[in-house]
Structures are given as structure tokens and as C-alpha cells.
Amino acid sequence: MGAGHGHRLHFHGHSVVHRAPAHLKILLLLGFVLTVVATPREWYPVFGAYLAVLLGVVLLAQVPLGYLLPRMVVEVPFLVFAALMPLVAEGPRVVVPVGGWELSLSESGLLGAWGLVAKGTLGVLASLTLAATTEPADVLRGLQRLRMPDLLVQIMGFMIRYLDVVTSDLGRMVTAMRSRGVDPRSPRHWPALARTLGALFVRSYERGERVHLAMLSRGYDGKLPEAVQ
């Protein structure tokens, strides 16, 4: 398989944060984001404190911020939503002069936008920190220790294991399409794209069947053996 089995977000390291047990990190992350979400958005200084704590952990993990920041683009669609909020929300309005124009913004909308941006950004940065400092296999073991159903952990494990195989399968198909003059984004070429996805489904499904048979021949009985470190 021409695919790397690396993990897109993982940043290799040996810091305290990297070595901390995964189940603790998951619990801390969940506790942190729940606290952030439950904090009233008018408590401005508290969000500064959250950010300081988070940046402290990132510093401790020795993951460069330049590595994390570009990966925060997943948040962009919601920043757009947040930017629109002061324009469409109800309630009393404030008039802000913007380059000769007067923009009428809703106060509650501004507050809502601030809450969204602050909480969303803290959440994304915290999740990125977990992903950057924890190997996928460790996250899975952590979830297992947190009593997540074994079958669910196994399904996640298989998905992660074959993610790069399946996505690079698709990548090769798209490359083949492009080299024949097909633009996968254009609706005109959707029939070709759909046949590609159909073929990808059949391939993935059949790969699943082969993997299952291979597992059976190695004594699979519904439980995976403990991974040896």
C-alpha cells in the first residue's frame, strides 16, 4: 500500500503530556470543554484563564503553535456564522461606523458571536492538543479503560487502521479520473464520480470480508487480543 500509516495530527514527542495516560487525558479534555461550554460568556477574564491553561499544556507538550494553528481551519465555517450573528440577531442595536458606513449591530448578537468564537476556539485547540500528543492506539486503549463498549472500540480501531488505505484508494481513483479530463467537483461529471464512489464502496466492503476471513484464520473469537506494546 503506498499509504503512510502515520496519523495526520499526531506530533511525535516524549513530553509529560505525551506520556500521560490516555484515559486521563480524555477525561481532562471532556471536563475542560464541558466547563468551558457551561461558563457564562460574560465572564470575560475566565476565558483568558482557560486560554492560559491550555497554552501552558501546549507549551508543556512541546508542540509548536505553528503546528496547531493551521489545523484550526476546521473551525472556519462557524467563524463565518459567528460573524453573521450580530447582523441577524434580535434585541437592542448599537451603531458602529465602518469606513463611512454605519453598521447596525445587535448587542445580544455581538455577545453571542463572542461566546461562539471563544468557546469554539478553546474547544478546537483543546481537542487538537489531545490529537497531537496521543497516538491513536493509545486513545483507543484509553476509551477501553473508560468502559466504552468493546465492539465500538474495535470498529473505531478498524476504521482508523484502514482510513489511509481507503482514502488513498479514492485518491488514486480521483487521480486517474483527473488524468482523463474529469473534474470531480463539477456536477457535469457527477456520474463518473458516483461510479468511482460505488467502486470504492464495493472495494471497501470486500476488503472488510477479506480482513474478517484473515482474522478468523488467526483465531478471532469476537475479541481482539491485547495489543503488545
Binding site: 460568556r41 441577524v88 440577531a89 470531480p184 458516483a194
Partner: protein, 228 residues
């Protein structure tokens, strides 16, 4: 598409988390009944397929693009329970490993896309199939209809959740109109792609399509001389 942290307040997030956990629990049991010990590798591979499918973007207009959600597609291809399980696993992995969709919003995302998207899509698919002529060619059409209905349905439930636990003071009617209007357009793209993908699989491996069971008919084994 994925709801981030802080979009809905904490009580609503916890409540949808409970709904999602219950739904995934039932889906786990039902999927195991359907796939027995093949569940882990099969659901894992189908989840990887759904993830890959979501990487395909299509233009929605105004310079923005939407991507395939795949709820109805997964339901028609592998059945609603396995499909819901696969979509939920995709969302779990995206949230934990890719920071896509907040961890506190995971319950909301699973409820919207994994449960509402899959089951509304599958319900509409079944209804359409009951009305359309009983033949293999109806399956892609019904799948497209299911996909079309599933996207605005998820958007409607989101509007309801936002009215209950939203963190912004926007009139519910406005949110509803914007969300559903926008998602009707995305639903069109979803419908066309879902229908075409299902038709491609039906053409090559009708036996793999869960929604086509009983329609594929038995293909007689042909034996005879091949004259080359």
C-alpha cells in the same frame, strides 16, 4: 457541518449526549444481530468508506461548497442500524482525532447525522420503495429521495435544538428558514450523488445493497459453451 463546542448550551449538549449514547447502544446490538462477528471489520471498513466519501466536495452556490453527509447512503447500502453505527463512529473519530466537531457537541452531531439523518433517510427510502414499481431500478431513485429528505430533516432538528439550547438570540423562525432553506440545496446535491452511487453499486453488486434485498432476484447460473 459539524456543530462545534459552545453552539448549544451545556444542558442541551448533555441531553443530546444521552440520546446519542442510547441510540448507539441499540445500533450496536442490532448491527451485531445482522453481522455477528463480522461487525467490527465490516463496520470499520464501511466507516472508512463514509469518511472518504465525505472528502468529496460539491459546489452549493455563492462560492461555498457542501460535502456528502452519507447518512441515507450508508443506510441504503448496509442497512439502517449498521449505517447509524458507521456514521456515529465517523463522527467519533473526527471529533477525537481531527478536532472536527466539538467533544461536547458529539452527542448533538451523532443525534443529528447518525440517528435523524440515517433513520429519516431510510424511512423515506422505504416509503418511496413501497410506492415505486417493485424492481431493481427503483432502488437508486428511492435512495435519492431518502437522501434529499434526510438533510433538511437533520437541519430541522438542529433548529429545534437551537431554539431550546441555542446560545444566540436569533428568532427561531429565522434560524429555521435559513437552516432548512440552505440544506434543501445541499439535500439536492446529496440526493443526486446518493442516487448515482447506489445505482453504480446496484449495477455491479446488487447483492451487497441492503435496500435492494428481495428485489435483486435470483440470477440463474448459466452453464454452457462459450464460443470465443
Amino acid at each position: 457541518m459539524h456543530v462545534p463546542d459552545g453552539f448549544l448550551d451545556a444542558p442541551t449538549s448533555v441531553a443530546t449526549g444521552v440520546v446519542a449514547a442510547a441510540g448507539v447502544g441499540v445500533a450496536l446490538r442490532k448491527a451485531r444481530a445482522e453481522l455477528d462477528d463480522r461487525t467490527a471489520p465490516m463496520a470499520g471498513l464501511v466507516a472508512a468508506f463514509v469518511f472518504a466519501g465525505q472528502m468529496i466536495n460539491f459546489p452549493v452556490g455563492a462560492g461555498t461548497s457542501g460535502h456528502l453527509l452519507g447518512g441515507a447512503l450508508a443506510a441504503v447500502l448496509v442497512g439502517p442500524w449498521t449505517g447509524a453505527l458507521c456514521i456515529s463512529v465517523v463522527l467519533l473519530v473526527q471529533s477525537l482525532f481531527m478536532a472536527d466537531g466539538g467533544l461536547t457537541a458529539l452527542g448533538t452531531n451523532i443525534t443529528l447525522m447518525g440517528l435523524v439523518g440515517v433513520f429519516v433517510g431510510y424511512g423515506a427510502f422505504r416509503l418511496a420503495l413501497a410506492v415505486l414499481p417493485r424492481k431493481l431500478g427503483s432502488v437508486p431513485l428511492a435512495a435519492a429521495l431518502g437522501a434529499f429528505v434526510s438533510v433538511p430533516a437533520a437541519a430541522t432538528v438542529f433548529s429545534v435544538l437551537f431554539a431550546i439550547g441555542g446560545t444566540a438570540d436569533i428568532a427561531t423562525g429565522k434560524v429555521f428558514a435559513a437552516m432548512v432553506g440552505w440544506h434543501l440545496v445541499i439535500g439536492l446535491g446529496e440526493a443526486v450523488i446518493t442516487g448515482l452511487v447506489v445505482s453504480a453499486v446496484v449495477a455491479s453488486r446488487p447483492d451487497l445493497v441492503h435496500g435492494a434485498r428481495g428485489l435483486a432476484g435470483r440470477r440463474p447460473l448459466l452453464a454452457g459453451e462459450v464460443v470465443a
